[in-house]
C-alpha cells in the first residue's frame, strides 16, 4: 500500500526531507539540519511543522449536538466561548482514551483536531454518537504549526493581527484573500500557532513563512520538543487502557463534568475518589543513557514497578528524559528508581513535568 502524502510533500522534498511512514502518511522525520539543530531552532527561533496528516473535523452545532458530544468528551462544551479551544479526550467505556484532541468552538461549528492514526476510528465513533453517517473530515484543508519565540513576529508579518490571540484561543484571518483559521496552541512547549488553511494555498503560505525566517522542522524534533514539554503522544503515553486520571491529565476533565455522565465517567469518578494504582510521571536517568519505550522500571528492592512509555535525549535540557507509568506508591518526585537498559540497571529519579519550562504567552487560563 502506498503511503499517503500531504500537499506539502514536494516542498518537503525540496528542503531535503528524509521521509518516514507515520500513520499511513509519508512524513518528514528530519530535513538537512538534523533533529538536534531543528529542535534548537524551534526553541530559540521559529519552526514550521506540517501536521496536515491530522484529522480536521467540523461539526455544525446546536444544543442537542453539544449535549451528545458531552457524552463522549469530558469537557464542559456549554461554557466554551466562541473561538476558545480545549484539550480533551474521546473517551472509552473502561475510562481509557480512544484519542486525545483539541476542540474549538467556532461561530457555528466545532473544530476537532484528531491524531492521524486514530482519525478514522474517531470519526466512526462520533458519527454513531451524532447519528450522522454523512459526517466527514475536511480533506480540503492543510494544517500547519509554527512554534518558537520568533513565530509571533514572523506570522504577524504574513497574517496581520494574529499576535493578539491569547493562548488556546483562535479566530478567522486571511491569507491571499483566503479565509484561514488560526489558533494559538501547539505541541512543543513554546509559544506558537496552528493554522488551518485551504490546500491550494498551503505551499505558498509555508514558503512565505520560510522567507520571513522560519524553518521547516521534522517529526523527529517534534518528538523531542513535546517530550521535553511533558506532553503525551497518543499510542505511547496514553491509549485505550490508560485513563486521563492515570495519565495525570485530570486537569483536562472540566470540574463541573466530574459528577456528570459521559463515556467512562463512572471509572473516572471512582479513580478520582479512591485514587489510582499507577500514574504517569517524568523520569530522569542519572546518566545520558536513553530509556526507550517499554524499558522496565524497578524499585530499590528490584521489584518491577512500571514501564517507560516515551524516552529520548532532550537537547534543551542536555539530559536523557523519559515518561512512564509507575506504581502510585512510587510516584513522588525524587523517588529513586532503576531502569533496565541492555541488561543493566540505570539509576533514575521520578521528576516533575515538564522537563523544559514552558514559555506560553500570557492568557494561559485553562491549564
Amino acid at each position: 500500500m502506498n503511503a499517503k502524502k500531504t500537499v506539502l510533500y514536494e516542498l518537503h522534498k525540496k528542503h531535503n526531507a528524509k521521509f518516514v511512514e507515520f500513520a499511513g502518511y509519508s512524513m518528514p522525520i528530519q530535513y538537512s539540519e538534523g533533529i538536534v539543530k531543528e529542535h534548537n531552532i524551534t526553541r530559540n527561533k521559529s519552526g514550521i511543522f506540517d501536521v496536515s496528516h491530522m484529522g480536521q473535523l467540523f461539526i455544525n452545532y446546536n444544543d442537542e449536538i453539544t449535549d451528545k458530544l458531552q457524552e463522549i468528551l469530558p469537557t464542559d462544551l456549554k461554557n466554551l466561548k466562541i473561538n476558545q479551544s480545549k484539550y480533551s479526550f474521546l473517551m472509552k467505556e473502561n475510562g481509557g482514551i480512544y484519542d486525545d484532541l483539541i476542540i474549538t468552538r467556532m461561530k457555528d461549528q466545532y473544530m476537532i483536531i484528531l491524531n492521524a492514526a486514530c482519525k478514522q476510528n474517531d470519526l466512526q465513533i462520533i458519527k454513531n454518537k451524532l447519528n450522522d453517517q454523512n459526517l466527514d473530515m475536511n480533506n480540503d484543508l492543510s494544517l500547519i504549526a509554527i512554534q518558537g519565540p520568533e513565530s509571533k513576529t514572523i506570522l504577524e508579518n504574513v497574517v496581520p493581527n494574529v499576535s493578539k490571540l491569547k493562548f488556546m484561543n483562535g479566530g478567522d484571518f486571511s491569507f491571499k484573500n483566503n479565509q484561514i483559521f488560526v489558533t494559538r496552541s501547539g505541541y512543543t512547549g513554546e509559544d506558537g500557532f496552528e493554522i488551518s488553511l485551504p490546500n491550494k494555498i498551503a505551499i505558498s503560505f509555508v514558503e512565505e513563512l520560510v522567507s520571513k525566517g522560519s524553518t521547516l522542522i521534522g517529526l523527529g524534533a517534534r518528538d523531542t520538543l513535546r517530550l521535553e514539554a511533558g506532553l503525551c503522544l497518543y499510542g505511547h503515553d496514553i491509549n485505550e487502557n490508560t485513563s486521563p486520571v492515570e495519565a495525570n491529565l485530570k486537569w483536562a476533565i472540566s470540574k463541573n463534568r466530574i459528577n456528570d455522565n459521559f463515556t467512562g465517567s463512572q471509572k473516572i469518578k471512582k479513580q478520582i475518589e479512591e485514587g489510582v494504582s499507577k500514574l504517569r510521571v517524568g523520569i530522569k536517568p542519572e546518566t545520558r543513557v536513553i530509556a526507550r519505550e517499554s524499558t522496565k522500571i524497578f524499585d530499590e528492592k528490584d521489584n518491577e514497578i512500571g514501564k517507560v512509555t516515551s524516552g529520548t535525549f532532550g537537547p534543551s535540557v542536555n539530559a536523557s528524559i523519559a515518561m512512564g507509568y509507575i506504581l502510585n506508591s512510587h510516584s513522588k518526585t525524587d523517588t529513586k528508581v532503576y531502569l533496565e537498559v541492555r541488561g543493566k540497571k540505570v539509576p533514575a529519579n521520578v521528576c516533575d513535568l515538564p522537563f523544559y519550562k514552558k514559555s506560553y504567552v500570557k492568557g494561559e487560563v485553562n491549564v
Binding site: I29, G34, I35, V36, G220, R288, F313, S320
Partner: protein
C-alpha cells in the same frame, strides 16, 4: 587512510604497529543522525571480532558498535562519551572509539579497503 580497513557493520580500523584505532564511519553517522549517547568497552577488557563493543544512540534509535577484530582494549576515547556530538562532527578522525592491542593481525584481511567499503555503503543504503 590507506592502512584503514572497514567492516560491514560500518566500523573503521587503522593499524599502528600492534595497536588498532577503531571508530564508526561517516556513512554510519549519516544513517544514525544526531548521536546523543555513546558507551564504550572497559579499558583492559578483551573483545572478540564481530562482538559488541559499545553502543551509540541517536535521538531516533540505539545501535550496537561491533569490533572488527579481536584484542585487548588499551585505550578508550572518553571525550566522545562526554560529548557524543563529536562523533557526528569528526567520525573518522578525533572521534575514534577505542584502541585495541590486536590478537590476530590476519583478521584484518577479512575487512574491506576504502574503495570496497564506499561501494558497499552505497549499495546497502540504496
Amino acid at each position: 587512510m590507506s592502512n584503514t580497513k572497514f567492516s560491514k557493520e560500518h566500523e573503521w580500523i587503522t593499524l599502528d604497529g600492534e595497536v588498532g584505532t577503531i571508530g564508526i564511519t561517516k556513512h554510519a553517522t549519516e544513517m544514525l543522525g544526531d548521536i546523543v549517547f555513546a558507551e564504550l568497552p572497559e579499558k583492559g577488557s578483551n573483545v572478540e571480532k564481530d562482538g559488541t563493543a559499545g553502543v551509540v544512540e541517536s535521538t531516533k534509535a540505539a545501535s550496537d558498535v561491533y569490533t572488527p577484530v579481536s584484542g585487548e582494549v588499551v585505550e578508550i576515547n572518553q571525550s566522545i562519551v562526554d560529548d557524543p556530538s563529536k562523533i557526528n562532527a569528526d567520525p573518522e578522525g578525533g572521534a575514534w572509539f577505542f584502541k585495541l592491542k590486536l590478537k590476530d593481525k590476519s583478521e584484518l584481511d577479512t575487512l574491506m579497503n576504502k574503495e570496497e567499503y564506499d561501494k558497499f555503503a552505497k549499495e546497502t543504503s540504496a
